[in-house]
Structures are given as structure tokens and as C-alpha cells.
């Protein structure tokens, strides 16, 4: 187990002008493992992600990435000026030059092959998330960091994206650190949940966290009830027409 640990976050503090954002946060991500950060708005999830990525320097504590491990990052949002003429193919290769065939194959893997020549501003929210994922995958990452990967995606698309992420982990064996708003959506996908509200409230297997008093206190019974409703649904999903699909392959 220890040999496969990709990322260790140890006792991270982060404060802005004396105002504590994160206190004594620790977690680790192993190869082939999906760790999900959940927590309310303002809990410091995105800040923690930025510290892991090296975009912010923690006030105390440290982040260790297995030496030689490559990072892939999928940001929460992409706001592109409408005057910038950029196709998806160019966008994916902005940071890492790659031949068209490779981009085509990656886009097919995430189910967005049809948009390769579209302007980035013209594709849908769901397609954009897949394109961002393809750009992260182009770097052959050992650790994928996904900040709210389902933003701007409808509910059906959200389950498909999580299935896709889950498959990626299985096929590529990379570790995944992911931020999500709600536990019920990621129940089926994630191996470990870290419930964050400036400090780690509770962490562990999703079933365990869902029953944890600290989780219930944070999200209330309402969140817990929704969890009960959604929990059994992860063995199928719905296609675009709402028909139940029982296989576990993602649909493009």
C-alpha cells in the first residue's frame, strides 16, 4: 500500500491575513484510488486542490508527490473570451504538443470525438468537461486532480461522467483526487471520501462517512435522505431519452 501512495498531504494550514481557511488537513491518494473531497461552499476544497497543485503555498505542513509522478489537472471553470478563435484540437494541445491522431483517440476515450474541430466556445457544458478531461489525460498523468468535474452538466451527464472517471482509473491505474459538492453523486465511484469544512470532519469509505455524525451535522438529514434515495441507483443510468441503461459503459 505505502509503495503505491502517490500523494501525501500532511498537516496543511492555510490562512489569508490571519483568517484560517484550512487547519491541519491531511490525506493521501494511492495509485488506482479515487479520493473525493466533499464539503459545503467555502469549506476550502478548491484551496486545498490549489495547494496540492502547487498554485498556493500552505502556511504550514507539506505536500509530497511521489517523485517523477505527473499531474493532470481539470479546472472547475473555463471562461474563454469569445474573440479567441480556438478549436478543441488546439485547446487540448496548448500545454503539450501532440499529433491530431492522438488527440482524436483521447477525445474518443472521453466520448467527445465529434467536437475536435469545433470552436471551444461553441460546445456544450458536458462536452467542455470531457474536453478538459482529455487535455488532462494527454499528459499521461499518474495523479488526476479534478475540481468539480460535473459543473454545468445535466444529471444524466453527471452520472455518465463519474462512470467515465471510474473507468479511467481502472484502465489507466492513475490516482484521482476529486472535488464534489455532494456525496450522493459520487457514492458509487469513490473509494474514499474526505469530508472537509476547513478541517477534516470525517473521512473513510463513503458508506461509513454517510453515517458519520459529523457528516450528518454538516449536511443535515436532508442530505442523508437523498443519499438513501440515490444509493441504489449506481448499477444503471439513463440515456438521453431517459431510458434505463444497465451496462456500465459510458455513453458519448
Amino acid at each position: 500500500m505505502d509503495a503505491k501512495v502517490l500523494l501525501t498531504v500532511r498537516d496543511i494550514d492555510f490562512a489569508i491575513r490571519g483568517h484560517a481557511i484550512l487547519q491541519s488537513v491531511s490525506l493521501h491518494v494511492a495509485r488506482g484510488q479515487i479520493v473525493t473531497l466533499i464539503g459545503p461552499n467555502g469549506a476550502g476544497k478548491s484551496t486545498l486542490v490549489r495547494i496540492v497543485l502547487g498554485l498556493r503555498r500552505p502556511s504550514a505542513g507539506h505536500v509530497e508527490l511521489l517523485s517523477g509522478a505527473r499531474l493532470g489537472y481539470m479546472p472547475q471553470r473555463l471562461v474563454l473570451d469569445p474573440t479567441l478563435p480556438l478549436t478543441v484540437q488546439r485547446f487540448v494541445t496548448l500545454g503539450t504538443p501532440a499529433p491530431r491522431a492522438r488527440v482524436q483517440a483521447l477525445l474518443a476515450e472521453v466520448g467527445a470525438a465529434q467536437v475536435i474541430d469545433s470552436p471551444v466556445q461553441a460546445i456544450s457544458g458536458g462536452e467542455l468537461q470531457r474536453v478538459l478531461l482529455a487535455r488532462a489525460l494527454l499528459r499521461e498523468p499518474d495523479l488526476l486532480v479534478l475540481d468539480e468535474p460535473i459543473q454545468g452538466v445535466d444529471l444524466t451527464g453527471q452520472y455518465e461522467l463519474y462512470d467515465l472517471i471510474s473507468n479511467l482509473r481502472r484502465q489507466r491505474g492513475c490516482g484521482i483526487l476529486m472535488v464534489s459538492h455532494e456525496l450522493h453523486l459520487v457514492m458509487a465511484t469513490t473509494d474514499q471520501v474526505v469530508c472537509l469544512n476547513r478541517h477534516v470532519c470525517c473521512s473513510g469509505h463513503p458508506d461509513h462517512v454517510a453515517r458519520d455524525p459529523a457528516y450528518l451535522a454538516l449536511f443535515g438529514l436532508d442530505g442523508a435522505r437523498r443519499l438513501a434515495i440515490y444509493h441504489h441507483q449506481h448499477n444503471h443510468h439513463h440515456d438521453l431519452h431517459g431510458t434505463v441503461v444497465t451496462d456500465d459503459k459510458p455513453h458519448g
Binding site: L53, T87, G95
Partner: protein, 265 residues
């Protein structure tokens, strides 16, 4: 063709070639007001350059850089919105330039020519400056192109992918400062931003790639310089403003044309 006209044309073309591609980045990064602010500080740069005994162009480049750094520092305070800070800096530096100028009794500077440009008075020495500066700016932009484009699309993503975004941003500011110093004589402090923005905005409607847009912006800028100078010759209008009006006319025509050919999404 008269000698002074040829020099004016060469000077204008040199400026337009550089402002085109640089202007596309200013448009993409929504930095129009930033460019304007740096340009406003140009007059202070000229005066300081003369006072300190270095030449005016170097004075402009260093003053622009100083203003850019002050802006970065003020932004860190997060007290005021960036456009408010830019407004303060733009008008403070312009006024400081004029006040300092008034103190220099021995210094004779034609204020209007600095504010609106005096393209018809471009000398042979100016041409060396313009073409040297433009070539330098374009070569540096070509080297900087890939990281700058990546940082423009998403700064944090670019940083994770290994782009030194802070250094790239500083280098980009330096390029803007150089181009302002180069363009000042031709188009004037108050009008420089127009040559950065208008050709780029016009090119957008016909470009399919970032590089295509940059190239097209240069071509459109050159057309505007040619048309503006010709108009100024026929109707005896001020040359710098005529170039800007020509650029705006091209922008208007392109809007009409593309509206008919291909309705925007």
C-alpha cells in the same frame, strides 16, 4: 512620392505590423484599459527621459514598466477594482507628465504631437527606432507565443502544465511598453490603444486560428495606415486621427460584410 510621405508610410507600417499581433492578445485578455493606462504614462516617460538625460524612448519603456509594477502591487491589496486602479493611474500619470513638463522651462516639447502623434514628422532616426523596436517586439512575441497563449486561455491550468505564468505576464507587459514607446511618435499617446484594439477586433470575424487573427490584424492595421495617410493628404486632415478613423471604417465594413456572409452564432 515626397520623402516625408514615404517616411510617414514606413513608420506607420512598422507600428501597425507590431500592434496587430500584440493587440490580439490585449483583446483576448481584456486588457484594453490596461494598454490605455500604460500609454497615458508615456508622456511622463518622455519628460523623465529628457530630464534624466537618457533618450525619450527608454524613458517611456521604463515608466510604462514602473506603472505596470505599481498596478500589480496595488492589485495585491484587493481594496479597489482593477478598472478603478487603472483609471487612477492613467490620469495621474498623464497629469504628472504635463505638470512636470511645465516645470521644465528650458524643455520645448510639442505637446499636441505627443498626444495625437505627428506621423508626417517621422525622421530617418525615428524609422530606425520604429523598425528596430517593432522587429524586437515581434520576435519576442513569436518566442513567447505558446506559453502566452496557454496562460491567456487558463492561467492556473497553464501553470500546472509548467508555464512560468508570472514571468510570461511580465514579458508581455514589457512588449506592450516597447510598442507604446515605438508607436507614440506616429499615433500619439491618446490614440495608441486604437491601433492595438481595432485591427484585432476587425480580424476576429475572418480568422479561424489565433495565428491567423494576429496576421490579419497586422494586415488590417497596415491598410488603415495607408488609407488614413491618403485621406489625410487629400482632405488635409490630421494624419494620426485619420489612420484611426480609417481603422474604424474597416471595422464597420467588416461588421456589415460578415453580418451578410455569415451571421454570428
Amino acid at each position: 512620392m515626397d520623402d516625408f510621405l514615404l517616411r510617414a508610410l514606413l513608420g506607420g507600417l512598422g507600428v501597425a505590423l507590431a500592434t496587430g499581433p500584440l493587440g490580439t492578445f490585449i483583446v483576448w485578455r481584456r486588457m484594453a484599459y490596461f494598454g490605455d493606462t500604460l500609454a497615458h504614462s508615456g508622456l511622463l516617460g518622455v519628460v523623465l527621459g529628457v530630464v534624466l538625460g537618457i533618450n525619450p524612448e527608454l524613458g517611456v519603456v521604463s515608466t510604462c514598466l514602473l506603472v505596470a509594477l505599481v498596478l500589480v502591487l496595488l492589485q495585491r491589496q484587493r481594496g479597489l477594482a482593477t478598472d478603478t486602479l487603472l483609471g487612477i493611474l492613467a490620469h495621474t500619470t498623464l497629469s504628472l507628465g504635463m505638470v512636470t513638463l511645465a516645470f521644465m522651462e528650458t524643455l520645448r516639447i510639442d505637446l499636441v504631437s505627443y498626444l495625437f502623434g505627428d506621423i508626417l514628422a517621422v525622421s530617418r532616426a525615428d524609422l530606425y527606432w520604429i523598425w528596430g523596436g517593432a522587429t524586437l517586439a515581434l520576435a519576442a512575441l513569436a518566442l513567447l507565443w505558446r506559453p502566452l497563449l496557454a496562460a491567456t486561455v487558463h492561467e492556473e491550468l497553464a501553470q500546472v502544465e509548467g508555464v512560468p505564468v508570472f514571468a510570461v505576464r511580465l514579458a508581455f507587459m514589457l512588449l506592450i511598453a516597447i510598442v507604446i514607446a515605438v508607436a507614440m511618435k506616429v499615433i500619439g499617446i491618446l490614440l495608441i490603444t486604437s491601433l492595438l484594439i481595432i485591427p484585432a477586433a476587425t480580424a476576429r470575424r475572418f480568422a479561424g486560428s489565433p495565428e491567423g487573427m494576429a496576421l490579419l490584424a497586422s494586415v488590417i492595421g497596415c491598410l488603415a495606415v495607408g488609407a488614413g495617410l491618403a485621406a489625410s493628404l487629400y482632405w488635409d486632415t490630421p494624419a494620426g486621427p485619420s489612420v484611426v478613423v480609417a481603422a474604424s471604417t474597416l471595422f464597420g465594413l467588416s461588421a456589415l460584410l460578415s453580418g451578410r456572409v455569415r451571421p454570428d452564432r
